[in-house]
Symmetry: D3
Subunit: 245 residues, 6 copies
């Protein structure tokens, strides 16, 4: 069930049987010459939507702009300051907890969000811990590529140069989600360089077209479909287990 | 053009011809017995998407959770605290301005957001005004029902009891956007009461099923399509004019 | 009764009969060549003071610097950032509620404050709504020119070119309040231009002497007295009604 | 000159000759059985107004609610959280500096404000110091009872039991400013106890009627006039000297 | 007992007999040509450690970076913004109160911290006062040079030119604490100038080598030992008394 | 070189040859029955101090209270809220950068700090990235157990049940640093359970004496010395390399 397309009585009914919700959380940032700016939001969104339908799990709205300051050297990238994101995630948590959701599962699509989401969780727990109260809810962060079995599928499809940013896998997932947005772009070098980075200027200097370690030229909607199928299955299982814990 | 499905070189190319972008901004909150929780985000999103395609205008990600504290008495409603929303909107503005967007047009779908969006604009301008610098960008807020001609269409379709929350018009638009989410619910009274409110408990007490002044039982996708068509046309015209100013 | 000139036992006694208080809220900003910088604070202050005396209503201190970033191009104008103003208003509300004031009526004198005051109200209510508690107080915002009958008086006195900033009406009110501060200044053009604005530099460029749409050259203390009289009467009635609701 | 009753051209003209401004800063808090809640704002306000007239010095709006959490046990007392007050004072400073005021003199009427005002100054300076820039303005805090000669006058008028809160001196000043607000109240004990305090509940328990160490029963407007006269003279001299430094 | 070298069961046992803790709080900032950057943290730290051992008092971690914006013109100086320090001190207080510490005694080594620590206390108390709750803990700030008898010892050792920053006394204490860090530096003028200051650039211009009014060339570890001995004795007495109040 | 025991001219001289500094960063939190509350601050502090001496590297003050909300169920544990820690770390960075430090190496001793430190780095970089400026400094986070070769030493000394909280290794390091603080405590079970946790109440319920997966009963100062030796060597090498990059 999608919260966004549900009515409040439908959500109320759902809460009688389950206290769990999945929140897709991503980013709006460059994904190389043939990747979509929304990639990191689209991937968890489509996986969560399909898992929600398959498993009867509630899926909340997508948190679609995250911490992507290092991508700001490329047009269209957007970022929240981490302190803003911590405040916003806490407002989301507080709203959901208000209704009785006690298992909030963030399915994340962006490596750059991980630290801030975990800090946001600690901020949330801290208010209970400092008050010597038992926090009545549990928060969980899972990156979609950590769902069990998903990385195996990705590696079997893209055994080399899947990469670490603008990966062939994630771009395939977005092509599956938005077949009209498939882009064919000549990339050079074929496989992007690897390395670390600090701010946006540093990132742009090191990674001229935005990719890190990837060759996404072989990305297709069909491959994306397979990845989503694997993710859907694992997510239903893992989120359901979390909801019951 | 949708920023989320564009690549960064496509955005870079767009910026050579236009400095304008539309940001759909809404809320996740109850919309009565047969309305979608995402209504206020979905309406500006679908209108902006169609206008973007029709007019070649860039459309950014949807800001999908707004200020809806008064709806928290109904399951699934979510809110940002206004101070959080001001911070987040400013991060979005700063990100877009970083790339050269100098006309940022917020198409809003939620009355409860208006004050906070305007405060966020003032927060943004204030940093320039206090520094005695000329702000290099312009911000604009338009509620979709204020697009020229749109209210006329709504009134011609729903001459009575369109209402002010969970309106027949907005629910029609969401049914057009999500035909699978159409809900048929008996509502009583047929036309919801009207009035003002303060917090969530107060709202719930006054408006038992969440609607204000509306009878959305006649909402259909076909009617929604007409409203969107009117909005699309007006939005192309008005946003284009704003982008050129 | 003025809170500022009352003792705490007097306030305690007042609270046995009424839980309501009026807070004049304004701004410190340019009001054209012959207008006072304090205009927007002075108008609600004098109206509230007279209504307080006439109706036995408690009047709190004047919140005298608001959101006026767009006026910073003119000497003497001051602004709070909206996020600061939200925090300050909430501290005022929390203080008053601490003593049992449960009806807090903000009489506003500045259009630029409206959005931020409403956002501040939502920030206040949100803390109760998120905690699923009933907010024990009600907040109300009224602009003095919206008090019933007041605009009619203004229009009868200044049928043309009352304007929308540095209006003939508001300057008359300040001349009534501060007869020693009456200023006679030649203005050109006689009627100021109209239009919208963004930041301070933009405002200054569009409105060379600070006025918008007004010709305040006919402002007098006598006219101001009439406006205040109308406001006093309406405010006693409307605030008293709010206090009892 | 009062900023509040000046026009922007008058402020602009003033700035050609002086870069200095006095900001009265006080509090809204209980001052015992016969004292006004506005005492701490009224005292610096009236002193600054008279000094402004006598010395041709610009006087800004009164910052009228300060840090008074410890007085909240008595009806009508209001407080800002220190973090809010720091933000607000910085907005005031930034606004005034924007126009070229480079000597900002805070005339304070409330002991409980001192720490927060000094912290606000450090917050302001820190932004320049961290940027390795020279701060272009100077900030000064003076408590009115520290103006040279003023304490001597107070002691000569009230040689015993002037006290440290709700002092006979400060209440005299407010009676001078608001002769209609003179209150005659039997107080017992005649001289209030002395001591320290923490929060509001602690304060109320220790100081049953709000006074600390004072016997304000002899306060009169005539005595207040003498104190104000001494303060006016000292303030003209000291603020003028500061403006020129 | 040092919290940092204690185990949690040891702290739990301590809390059965005492609810008090001493927090050394200082700064990291230049202390002239022969002074240590850590002087203001080291002094209260060594005094508290010795008093803790002598009197069986719990000593918490040292808060070692304070408000020192004015020293940033000299290499190595560090500062918190006052608003950050208020937040951090409140987190420390909330943590300690969580365990049942109800007497928190801050032993301060830096004049520049005083205002911000007091503001932090008011911020802490305000949350209770606004909620009309009795604050269950007490906070106390003592500067080490105010411990009874300590200044007498300092003056007997350094009858002239102890100074007000980079004092001979405080540098002696650090030499006692860190005998390996003794520095012999020719200073000119022998006694540093005195005066006030605003930001870092202003400070550097007025006080060329960082000292204010001091001649620390006679500082020795032996003299420091005497000062610490006096402080230890007074601190045991004064903190113990506070813990029992 | 220790910043805390250096003078400003010594730091100035250092900066002529190196722009790098190491900041030990830890936590104050329970470490089981025989572990020190300061363990996570002490470990990086002693390692950094020794590496600083061995390699001539500047070592700044220790950031000694981190994010440890989950340990608040055990007496003496302290926490910063993540948002506070982000603000404080940014003030430290801004202070150090002010003097020309362009390589800031945080040697961390607490797993619970990692996310917040990374978020703080992103907050710092974001201000440059949003302004389209090149950030002039680089920030690096290394957990001491990730220093090359250190884990091998730990595993060779404690091949089983080193654990993940209150590890035998870290407690050995603290015994080496504070031989007087060695504690002998019977623990049962000998090896603590493993698992995840959320807030403080949850943690306490799962891990009755505070340890996770460890048997620290064999911790000794001698073993700690070996670990520190390995860390010292690696840190000199790795920090020096970072400073030159």
């Amino acid at each position: 069930m999608q919260l966004h397309t549900a009515s409040w009585p439908e959500v109320e009914a759902y809460l009688e049987n389950s206290k769990g919700i999945i929140i897709p959380i991503g980013s709006t940032e460059q994904h190389g010459p043939n990747g979509l700016l929304g990639t990191d939001a689209i991937c968890p969104e489509v996986m969560a939507r399909e898992a929600g339908e398959a498993g009867g799990l509630m899926v909340g709205p997508t948190f679609n702009v995250g911490v992507a300051q290092h991508h700001l050297g490329f047009a269209g990238s957007m970022t929240l300051r981490p302190s803003t994101m911590i405040a916003a995630i806490n407002d989301w948590i507080d709203s959901l907890h208000r209704h009785g959701f006690t298992r909030i599962y963030f399915l994340n699509g962006h490596g750059g969000n991980i630290a801030t989401i975990q800090a946001a969780f600690a901020e949330s727990y801290a208010s209970w811990s400092l008050d010597a109260d038992r926090c009545p809810y549990r928060l969980k962060l899972t990156n979609w590529w950590e769902l069990s079995g998903v990385m195996d599928v990705c590696k079997s499809i893209f055994p080399v140069a899947d990469g670490s940013h603008a990966t062939a896998s994630e771009i395939s997932v977005t092509y599956y989600a938005y077949p009209d947005a498939v882009k064919t772009v000549e990339m050079s070098p074929k496989v992007a360089p690897v390395g670390s980075f600090t701010d946006a200027a540093d990132y742009r200097k090191r990674f001229a077209d935005g990719r890190i370690g990837s060759d996404p030229s072989g990305a297709t909607a069909e491959k994306g479909e397979k990845i989503v199928a694997a993710a859907r299955e694992a997510l239903v299982r893992e989120a359901s287990a979390f909801f019951k814990r």
